[in-house]
Amino acid sequence: MVGVRLTNISKSYGTTQVVRDISLVISPGELFFLLGPSGCGKTTLLRMLAGFLEPTTGAIYFDDRAMRRVPPNARNTGMVFQNYALWPHLTVAANVAFGLEVRHVRAADRRARVTRALALVHMDAYANRFPHQLSGGQQQRVALARALVIEPDVVLLDEPLSNLDAGLRIEMRKEIQRIHAELGVTMIYVTHDQKEALSLATRMAVLHDGRLVQVGTPVEMYQNPATLFVATFVGETNVLPSTVTSADARAYVLATPCGTVHLPRTRAAQPFATGDRVALSIRPEGFAFATDAPAVNTWSARVVESTYLGEIVQAVCAVGDTLVRVTALNTAGPPPRPGDSCSLVINAAHCRIISFAAKEIK
C-alpha cells in the first residue's frame, strides 16, 4: 500500500498540451477517482502513472520513490484496461498467473494465489475457460483478478465499467467497493461517469482541459463545487446568472432573474463584493414546494412539467420567464400538476455562489 504524489505534471505532444501542471497527493489505501469528460487528460495521467508515458515536466512519486525513467514493468502497478486486454491465447488461469510467472513465484504458491484471486472475484469456476468463452462482466472480473494477484502497490483502473451494460455496471461497482474494502489497496480509478465517482470514491479529482479543477470528497464536490464546470459536471443543477446586491460579514443578497436570494457567506466559493456578477447554482433538490411559505427565499412559480416517481417528483417550474428543475420529496398530498401555481422555497445548503471567471483553482 503506497501513497502517490504528483508534482507539477505536464504532458505535451508537439504544441498541444494534454495535461497542464497537475499536482496531487493520493494517500495510501484511497479509492481515488480521476473524473472528467473525454479529452480532459485523465487517461493520459493514468498512463503516466503506469509508466507507458513519461511526463514532459514534473515528477511522480510512489511513497518517496521517484518514478522518472522507471519502466512500466518495474512499477508494480496492476492495471485494468478499458477493453480488459485479456490475452486470447491463454486461459483465465494462465492470464491471472502471468504476473506471478514473471515474478518467478514457485508453481505451488502460484496456483494457490491464482485460485485465491479468482475466488475473490467469484470466477474460480472458470479457471480453464478462454476469454472469448466469457461474458463482458466475467472478463471484467478476470481482468481485475489479474491486476490484483500480483499484490500491486497501486491498482489503476481505466474506465473499467464503460463496456458493461447498466445493470452489470452497478453490480461491478459494488464488487470493486467490496474488494477495495477487503484488500485496502490504493486504487486510482479513471471515469467520465460522475455517478460512479460519487458512489465509490473516498476522494476525487475533477479534470477539465488538462487542468485539475478541484479535489475533494464526493460530498465536498457535490455540495461545495469550486467552479461552474464542477457544479454542472458533478450532479445536476440550475445555474442562474446573478448580481451581488449586498455583502456583509455574514451574508450575501443576490438579484437573480427569478427574484432575490439571501445566502450565508459560507455558500460562496470565494469572497465577493457588491456589484459582482456571479453564477448561482441551485440543485434541483434545493427547492421545496410550500403552501404556507416564509417570505424570505421563496419564489412564486407555475408548474410546467411534472413526473411522478413515487417517493419523489421531478418537475420543471417557470419562475417568471426562467425555467428551473425541481426534485422534491412527495408529501401525503396530491403531486403538483402542470398549470398549478406554487411557491418554491430555496434551501440555502443546496446553493453555491460561483465566480463566472474561475476556471480553475491552483
Binding site: 519502466p71 514493468n73 502497478t77 486486454a85 490475452w87 502471468f98 514473471v102
Partner: protein, 558 residues
C-alpha cells in the same frame, strides 16, 4: 514508443540490406546505360528507338501488360461483386476455387496450352474432325497466347484486391444512394466504383508489372519479340554490349511510372475509413435464376482458368499426346522421373533450400519492420515503408539483371561462380513486401493493450515478445512465410537470369531447360509443374484460411 537502440539497429540494417541489394543495383544499371568510358552518352538509350526489333519488343510488352490488366479487371470485377454482395450455398468453397488458377506460373501453363492451341493441337484436330476449318489460335506472333496465360494466372490477384476493397465500402453508402432514388448502375458508377478504386488500382499495378516483365510465358511460346526475352538474350554478351542496360532502364522506368500512376490515382480518390458498422455480412440472397447464373459464371470462368492446369496434367501423365485430341497411354513414369532425374531432383532440392533460407531472412526483417510500422509512425518509418515496398514496383528480371551487372566482379557474389547467395538475396528482397504486409496486418489486429498489460504486470520486453506478441501473431507470420516461400519456389524472371550453372538450377530454370529437350523433357517438366502446383496450392489454401479477407492486402502495391 521511444526510438530505442534496437529501433535504430533495425533501421540501419534494413537500409543497408535494401540499399545494397535494391537501390545500388538499380543505380548501377542506370549508370552503365548512360555512362560509357567515364562520359555520359545517350547512344544506347537512343539505340533502343533506332532498333526496330527492340522498339517493337518494348511496345509488345507494354501491350501485353495493358491487355492483361484490362482483361483481368473485366473477369475479376463481376466475380468480386458477386462474392462481396451475395450470400449463396457453396460460397466459401467457390471463393477458394477462385484462387486456384494462381497456383501455376504462366510458363508452366504454356507447356500444356501448346498441346491444345498449337496448329496441330487438340482444338484444331477437333475442328478438323467436325469438318470445320483450322484456326491459327496464336496468330499475330503469339501475343494472344501470352496474354491469355498471364490473365488466367493473374486475375485472382485482381479478384483479391477488389473483394477487399468492396468489403471496405460500407453498404450504408450504397443504401443511402438507393434511398435517394439512384438505380443499380448509377450506384455502382457514382458510389461503389469510386470508393473501391484505390483497391482496384493497387491490384492493377501488380498485374501490369507482372505481365509486362514476365519472361516465362513468352519464352515457352517462342514469342521472342518482347522486352523480357530480349533482355534475357543480352545477358550473354553483357560486357561488350550495353544495349541490355538500356532495355533494363526502360523496363524499370515504365514499371516505376506505372507504380506512381497507380498511387496517384488511388490518392486522388477519397479513401473513406470504414466505420465499425461497415460490414459486408449483410449480403443479399440471389433469386433462383440469379443463383443459376452465378454458378454458371463462376464455374465457367474457373473451368477456363483451369484449362492450362489440366493440359499440363495431361502432358505429365501421358506417354504420347501427338496429333490426337486427348492424351494417350497414361503413365506415372514422368512423376517418378521428376523426383529422380538428375536435373529435376536436384532442382527441386535446391529450390526448396534457397526459398527456405530466403523466407527466414524475410521473417526476421518482415516481423521487425511490421512491428515498427504498426507501432511507431513517423517520417522515418514512412520513408522506410516506401523503400520496403519498392520491390513490388521492380520486376524480378530487372533486379536480377542489376545483380549480375553489380556483383559479377565480386568473387563471393559472382553468380557465374556460385549463384546461391544472390538467388537467396534476390528471393528475399522480392518477397519482403509480402512478409512485412502480413506481419503488419497481424500487429494491427493485435491491440497494443495486450502488450501493455504484460508490461504492467512486470514482464520484460523479451518476455512480452515471447509469451504474448509472437503467440498472438504466429498465424500471420506463418501465412506471410508460406506465401513468401511458395512464390520464391516459382520465381521465374530472376531465376532464369541468375542461375548460370546447370548443377545450381532451381525449379524454374530446370523446367525451362527440360521443356526444350525433344524426347521426354516436356513430360518431366510438366510433372514438376504439377508437383509445384500442389505445393503452391496447399500453401495458398493454408494462408487463405489463416488470413481470410486480409489475404488481398498482401497482393497490393500500397
Amino acid at each position: 514508443m521511444k526510438r530505442s537502440l534496437s529501433t535504430w539497429l533495425l533501421l540501419g540494417a534494413t537500409t543497408l540490406f535494401l540499399g545494397l541489394f535494391l537501390v545500388y543495383p538499380m543505380l548501377r544499371v542506370l549508370v552503365r546505360a548512360i555512362v560509357v568510358d567515364g562520359r555520359p552518352t545517350a547512344t544506347f538509350v537512343l539505340a533502343l528507338f533506332a532498333n526496330a526489333g527492340l522498339r517493337q519488343g518494348m511496345l509488345n510488352s507494354i501491350m501485353i501488360g495493358v491487355y492483361a490488366t484490362l482483361l483481368s479487371m473485366v473477369i475479376a470485377l463481376p466475380l468480386a461483386w458477386i462474392f462481396a454482395r451475395y450470400r449463396f450455398p457453396g460460397r466459401t468453397v467457390l471463393n477458394g476455387l477462385m484462387l486456384v488458377p494462381m497456383v501455376m506460373p504462366p510458363f508452366v501453363g504454356a507447356l500444356g496450352l501448346n498441346q491444345v492451341f498449337a496448329r496441330c493441337g487438340s482444338l484444331n484436330l477437333l475442328l478438323e474432325q467436325l469438318g470445320l476449318p483450322m484456326v491459327d489460335w496464336f496468330g499475330g506472333g503469339g501475343m494472344l497466347g501470352v496474354v491469355v496465360l498471364e490473365v488466367l494466372h493473374l486475375y485472382p490477384i485482381m479478384y483479391l484486391n477488389i473483394v477487399a476493397a468492396l468489403a471496405n465500402v460500407d453498404p450504408a453508402m450504397e443504401e443511402a444512394a438507393a434511398n435517394l432514388g439512384a438505380r443499380a448502375w448509377t450506384i455502382f458508377r457514382r458510389i461503389t466504383f469510386p470508393l473501391m478504386s484505390p483497391g482496384l488500382f493497387a491490384g492493377a499495378i501488380i498485374v501490369f508489372i507482372w505481365a509486362f516483365t514476365d519472361p516465362g510465358a513468352p519464352l515457352m511460346f517462342e514469342y521472342r519479340t518482347c522486352m523480357p526475352v530480349q533482355m534475357f538474350d543480352t545477358l550473354s554478351d553483357l560486357n561488350e554490349n550495353p544495349i541490355g542496360y538500356a532495355i533494363v532502364v526502360y523496363a524499370l522506368l515504365i514499371s516505376l511510372l506505372a507504380f506512381w500512376a497507380s498511387k496517384w490515382f488511388a490518392q486522388r480518390t477519397h479513401v473513406v475509413p470504414s466505420g465499425k458498422g461497415a460490414t459486408a455480412d449483410a449480403g443479399r440472397r440471389p433469386s433462383r435464376l440469379g443463383l443459376v447464373m452465378i454458378y454458371a459464371l463462376l464455374l465457367g470462368i474457373t473451368a477456363i482458368a483451369l484449362l492450362p492446369h489440366l493440359t499440363v496434367l495431361g502432358v505429365a501423365l501421358s506417354d504420347t499426346w501427338f496429333m490426337t485430341i486427348f492424351p494417350r497411354d497414361l503413365t506415372d513414369r514422368y512423376f517418378k522421373l521428376a523426383l529422380t532425374h538428375r536435373l529435376a531432383a536436384s532442382s527441386i532440392r535446391i529450390s526448396l533450400i534457397l526459398s527456405g533460407l530466403a523466407t527466414i531472412v524475410d521473417i526476421i526483417f518482415g516481423v521487425a519492420l511490421g512491428y515498427l510500422f504498426a507501432r511507431s509512425k513517423s517520417r522515418v518509418t514512412a520513408w522506410l515503408d516506401t523503400l520496403v515496398m519498392m520491390p513490388l514496383a521492380i520486376p524480378g528480371i530487372v533486379l536480377a539483371f542489376g545483380y549480375v551487372a553489380s556483383f559479377q566482379s565480386f568473387t563471393a557474389l559472382d553468380p557465374r561462380r556460385d549463384a546461391f547467395p544472390l538467388l537467396i538475396i534476390c528471393y528475399s528482397v522480392r518477397r519482403l513486401p509480402y512478409m512485412v504486409r502480413a506481419a503488419y496486418a497481424g500487429f494491427q489486429q493485435l491491440s497494443e493493450t495486450f502488450e501493455e498489460a504484460a508490461y504492467n504486470l512486470g514482464a520484460r520486453a523479451t518476455t512480452v515478445l515471447r509469451k504474448i506478441t509472437i503467440p498472438l501473431m504466429s498465424a500471420h507470420i506463418l501465412a506471410g512465410a508460406i506465401l513468401a516461400f511458395s512464390f520464391a519456389v516459382f520465381e521465374v524472371g530472376s531465376t532464369l537470369v541468375l542461375a548460370f550453372r546447370e548443377d545450381q538450377y532451381p525449379i524454374a530454370k530446370a523446367i525451362y531447360l527440360l521443356s526444350m529437350r525433344l524426347t521426354d523433357g516436356p513430360n518431366i517438366a510438366s510433372a514438376m509443374g504439377i508437383l509445384g502446383m500442389l505445393l503452391l496450392g496447399a500453401s495458398l489454401l493454408i494462408a487463405g484460411t489463416i488470413l481470410g479477407q486480409r489475404m488481398g492486402e498482401l497482393f497490393r502495391s500500397r
